[in-house]
């Protein structure tokens, strides 16, 4: 029988309409010692307003360098059940689809070896099994892996890639987010399980500019589906929207960021050359508008949380890339990017920070992508920039040529 703690503060959080995490902990605490002590410890934190966990030690499974976050309580005398309370990250399937059978298998394993507590899901995307002891790790891993599951990433490694629901259930997916996510995860198994990089490297894949996995804000490598070609307009459906009270002028035409749309009362016109594919019109008139035909993705690099010189959003590196099986081009690109980072990065330096410190040119040259205006919001403002001797030679040669032809090439 697990220990029962008096939890007046946490009990408050059982009230109210939103599902209660306290109820969840209590469910487990009723039958599991670790969960019971987790509950007691948490109540103590609520009372004292401070946490009782220590810096994680290095724990894991044989041959892997990641996938488990070691966690020890700082007052194990008082809460022996959570003296060890490691979490196990399980690599989720693409877009978090499950069968109930699969979930039950995981629950059974976890009840056997762990606290019974989970996170569905962690904010990188993994299934998180919350709380077990060092001794149990090998068994848990054997049970999981023998049933087709593998650990997710942690430490200075590739982290578990994730993706939006995409073509599985979304009409706007320009790319097969699920398959790409699966393939990249498989491609980088070694990098995922054996931390060997300066710091973490995350991949997130969204099927369109709505970015339903927050790729551009939370992944070192953000892959976002897009298209070339004209937005497809079903004028009848447009008129239907209007007939049903949709204020097309106010809600679409006036909100289009590039001012490239117009509505004459019966026909919607889009100046596609000026559309920046923001998805506003398409998302607000889903029956009437569809993305153009040539599908692909934009690859952006660098986003991360603020520690320590400020949060980054990812930067456009490859404005357009085809996304087709077997995705060799994308795999190669990711490999080259991480190679460059690995060569240039200092410990605990994310790829975006290295690009900022070393310079975009070095990065682009290494990965073989030419400079393009799409990569910047605006060109540089201050009059300081570098030339290689070859740059200058090229310019001088061009000028000589211009002298001959009488035609300037700016």
């Amino acid at each position: 029988m697990p220990k029962m703690y008096d939890t007046p503060l946490l009990d408050e959080l059982e009230k109210g309409p939103w599902p209660s995490f306290v109820k969840e902990i209590k469910k487990c605490a009723a039958k599991n010692d670790m969960a019971a002590d987790e509950l007691g410890l948490l109540e103590k934190s609520y009372k004292t307003k401070i946490g009782y966990w220590k810096h994680g030690g290095i724990v894991g499974v044989r041959g892997y360098g990641g996938g488990v976050i070691g966690r020890y309580c700082s007052i194990p005398e008082e809460f022996p059940g959570v003296a060890h309370f490691h979490t196990v990250r399980i690599n989720q399937p693409s877009a978090w689809f499950y069968t109930t059978d699969a979930l039950r298998t995981i629950c059974d394993i976890w009840d056997k070896y762990g606290s019974g507590l989970t996170n569905f899901h962690g904010s990188t995307g993994d299934m998180i099994l919350l709380g077990t002891r060092t001794e149990a790790l090998e068994d848990i891993f054997a049970e999981l892996s023998s049933r087709g599951w593998d650990l997710g990433g942690s430490g200075s490694a590739m982290r578990t890639p994730s993706c939006c629901v995409g073509p599985a259930r979304c009409e706007w997916a320009n790319i097969d987010t699920l398959e790409l996510c699966y393939q990249l995860t498989q491609e980088f198994q070694d990098e995922l399980h054996r931390p060997a990089w300066p710091y973490k490297f995350k991949i997130k894949i969204a099927g369109c500019a709505c970015d339903c996995v927050a790729a551009i804000a939370r992944a070192d490598c953000s892959i976002i589906g897009t298209w070339k070609g004209d937005i497809k307009i079903n004028q009848d459906e447009v008129r239907n929207y209007v007939k049903n009270g949709f204020d097309i002028q106010k809600w679409v035409i006036d909100m289009c960021p590039t001012e490239c749309m117009s509505w004459d009362g019966s026909t919607l016109t889009i100046d596609n050359a000026n559309c920046n594919r923001c998805m506003h019109c398409i998302s607000k008139m889903t029956k009437a508008l569809k993305p153009g035909d040539e599908k692909g993705a934009t690859i952006c690099i660098g986003s991360k949380a603020p520690i320590v010189v400020g949060a980054l959003l990812s930067w456009v590196i490859v404005p357009f890339i085809k996304v087709e099986k077997p995705y060799d081009e994308i795999k190669d690109l990711v490999r080259k990017m991480t190679e460059w980072w690995d060569e240039n990065g200092k410990p605990r330096e994310r790829i975006g920070e290295v690009i900022e410190r070393v310079g975009m040119r070095s990065f682009l040259e290494y990965i073989g992508v030419p400079p393009q205006p799409q990569q910047v919001k605006e060109p540089r403002r201050d009059p300081f920039w570098f030339f290689t001797e070859e740059d200058i030679e090229k310019i001088k040669a061009k000028e000589a040529e211009e002298k001959k032809t009488g035609v300037y090439k700016f």
Binding site: G56, E171, A215
Partner: protein
């Protein structure tokens, strides 16, 4: 029971085995979607096939027994298929329209919260907090529960001008999505960490520790063979504590939370945006953080009242101007709001145009 043979580097199972047949059939060929209720939508394929999704709020921290309960519901109404969203909600995937209402009835009867689709508040992205992380200056789960209890009508019923994405991070590492959220809470330290010189010698490296400080506040202290911190240079980021456990920064009375607003990640209309700080400090008040929750509600409702349809929080504020935001919400503008770190230069106003 003997433990089975381990396998390595197999990666996750292929998702295809988890897709409902109707999804496999119409994969990549969806035509449009329609919201039927705050927590129910239908996706219609080019083929005319339909799949219904019923979304249910989740505390994210789930007991295995709860997962089993969810599974039995999914078995009953969804042929055993379900998914989770990128914001940790549960989606029941219904092929048979006739099961839609019974499913909802059962969910309601069991106390599940149906909602979160469309222009509403969805599940806050959040993190470990006191539940599991050594770095936490607050508890994320408790904050989320308190916020969502208060904003519940905006999850399962009331419409807003657009989606409002909430997040909670329990320290400035920001494992949540706080840095680009419509409204979010980030927990902060506010006190200079204390160096435990004895422990330092055993646990920490001098150069790494000094290098960890973004403001150069840390210097060697030859007297104690450890380091000292220049108090007026420290902005409590905790990075020194991350690399060196002998520099504890947690403080029960001084740790607290800040409120940030106006971020977004989608590209619709305007570029993805960072959140900006609007309330620099509110004391931790477990179990319900009433002041933080009141602040969030105030901001949300000011937005609901003043924004134009389809404007996100950040878009609304940028249209009316931050000076008007502070006026409308009555939030005090302090020295802390003025950047004095990396982006100072970008945030100072360089125009004679503003509102009174």
């Amino acid at each position: 029971m003997s433990v089975p043979q381990r396998r390595t580097d197999i990666g996750p199972p292929h998702y295809e085995q988890f897709l409902p047949p109707i999804i496999k059939k119409n994969y990549g060929n969806w035509s449009y979607y329609q919201q039927l209720a705050p927590g129910v939508m239908v996706h219609v394929a080019e083929s005319g096939d339909k799949i219904y999704s019923v979304r249910v709020g989740s505390p994210r921290l789930l007991a295995t027994d709860t997962i089993r309960e969810i599974c039995s519901i999914a078995d009953k109404y969804c042929d055993g298929y379900l998914r989770f969203t990128s914001r940790n909600n549960i989606e029941f995937l219904v092929t048979d329209e006739s099961k839609l209402n019974p499913l909802q009835d059962e969910l309601k009867s069991k106390g599940y919260a149906i909602g979160g689709i469309g222009y509403r508040v969805s599940n806050p992205v959040h993190t470990q907090g006191w539940v599991h992380c050594h770095s936490a200056c607050t508890d994320a789960s408790g904050l989320v529960k308190s916020i969502m209890d208060e904003l519940f009508p905006y999850f399962c019923e009331k419409e807003l001008p657009n989606k409002v994405r909430l997040a909670v991070a329990c320290c400035v590492n920001m494992c949540g999505a706080v840095h680009c959220s419509d409204i979010a809470v980030v927990a902060v330290h506010t006190k200079v960490p204390q160096v435990d010189a004895e422990a330092f010698k055993n646990m920490c490296e001098l150069p790494t520790t000094i290098a960890s400080c973004p403001t150069g506040a840390i210097s060697p202290d030859p007297a104690t063979k450890s380091v000292k911190i220049k108090a007026e240079k420290c902005m409590y980021c905790g990075n020194c504590f991350t690399v060196c456990p002998a520099i504890p920064i947690k403080d029960a009375e001084r740790d607290g939370v800040a409120i940030v607003v106006g971020g977004k990640v989608g590209n619709l209309r305007s570029n993805p945006k960072f959140s900006k700080m609007v309330i620099p400090y509110i004391s931790n008040e477990p179990p319900r953080w009433p002041k933080a929750i009141a602040a969030i509600k105030l901001i949300l409702e000011t937005y609901a009242k003043d924004a134009r349809k389809f404007e996100r929080v950040g878009e609304w504020i940028e249209r009316i101007g931050w000076e008007r935001f502070f006026q409308l919400t009555g939030i005090e503008f302090t020295y802390q709001h003025i950047d004095d770190f990396t982006f100072a230069r970008e945030t100072f106003r360089t125009a004679a145009t503003f509102k009174w």
